[in-house]
Symmetry: C2
Subunit: 261 residues, 2 copies
């Protein structure tokens, strides 16, 4: 790979995806592929490491679409089902001898993975074909390959949730915050001047646990990020309507979009 | 609906689906849609009831593909991840006031659902947009709408697993057994002469927890079923190679296949 940092949007949708089952709104019936959104997740590649952030129920479908055949690590932002229920499909990255996937999650999120996927963690299914995780609880900045990752505390409903700041050689590359209603003060500080900011911007109207598009525009402006990409959209976020009116430097992401730094 | 009993195959694949992430075999790289398999599940419609058997991680994708906008019940065969991890997406069938989804599962399977999806069952998320289940533990024959359903005990690895015999007005319609290595003697008896038998037939070669195609041919023959459809295939089961050589009355199912009685 000639680029030193590449991001692929595996999904840009909220918990139920878009189209929404049974919904007949203009976005859910839209043919525009930018209005079709699997559950939010990104794949990050550097010369040294390949990782995914979150493994929602669409994870297998996303790997097939993007021809992902290699993965070293999975990092989790929080425990909600739309971010973890594809966890078992990580098994395809531990099919060879001595292969494993490094799992990074907050203690609360790790407990949830251990409970929902007990057979993965209980040490009984270690033979070929089953997922062999190496769990690491996130308690501060950590390293994977040539990446340094700093957790960015946010509030998002009742569960402990983080965004992630990715740096290489102490230089910020990407702040990824897919689920947030409010950023902690230290997170606001950490994302200042990031070359790329990817931010929850659920829909035009307010929501109790997610940032709205106007709220996220405010955060993006204050961050002075190089480029901001919104993600985690509901079907109230019509690409055709919202994208043209966003301020300069702020755009709506879509499934399959790649950003290279 | 003019037919009294309709089956739609939502998926006919094994736990990791086909194509398999990272696999370059002839089936996984095949363009034949009959070699492309989401996780095994069926949707059953009668004049009185619409139900799904199992909700694997592909459940949302399957509902969208088949335009499923109504669902009264979900019945589970066992607790493995490829059969339950799409459970949260049932929420789209409880969006209106007083709507709920009836959940039928063995006690062991219900415990697993309650643990993996604790927020669904703990009574805290009862507002619009969240899944509202009505759990029923299976302990013998039960009724949903105009259907009588008889659990068919089978062995399948370590977890309690059943197939399901669907009858209307005491007349057998369908025996659905997606995951089994061996049928209990009472199950062998119950499926005798069923108009439709859908049976696990993982691949040509033997497997410790699934019936192979030769093993399932034996069971199908002994059952004297009207028509037998194999399901739950790995990528060792090439539709183009295996289907032409199956005995009369036995066929390989594919995703999207409908059977009307």
């Amino acid at each position: 790979m000639s680029n030193s940092f590449e991001i692929t949007f595996l999904g840009t949708g909220t918990s139920i995806g878009v189209p929404v089952i049974g919904c007949e709104c203009a976005v859910c019936t839209s043919d525009d592929p930018k209005n079709q959104r699997l559950r939010s997740s990104i794949y990050v590649q550097t010369p040294e490491i390949k990782l995914v952030v979150d493994t929602g129920p669409d994870f297998r479908q996303q790997c097939l679409r993007e021809n992902i055949a290699e993965l070293d690590a999975a990092v989790f932002t929080h425990e909600h089902s739309d971010h973890i229920m594809g966890f078992d499909d990580l098994r395809r990255f531990t099919v060879r001898d001595h292969e494993s996937v490094e799992i990074f999650a907050l203690p609360e999120t790790m407990r949830r993975l251990e409970v929902a996927f007990d057979y993965v963690f209980n040490g009984e299914n270690r033979y070929i074909g089953y997922l062999k995780p190496i769990p690491h609880e996130i308690s501060g900045r950590f390293e994977i390959g040539d990446l340094e990752i700093t957790p960015l505390p946010v509030t998002h409903g009742k569960v402990e949730t983080i965004g992630l700041l990715f740096s290489q050689k102490e230089e910020a590359r990407l702040a990824y915050i897919p689920d947030a209603k409010k950023l902690a003060p230290e997170s606001v500080e950490q994302i200042q001047g990031a070359p790329v900011l990817i931010l929850d911007a659920l829909q035009p109207n307010e929501h109790p646990t997610h940032l709205s598009i106007p709220e996220s525009v405010e955060i993006a402006r204050a961050s002075c990020a190089g480029q901001t990409w919104f993600t985690h959209f509901s079907c109230r976020a019509d690409y055709r309507v919202i994208e043209p009116d966003l301020p300069e430097g702020i755009r709506m992401a879509w499934d399959g979009l790649k950003i290279r730094l």
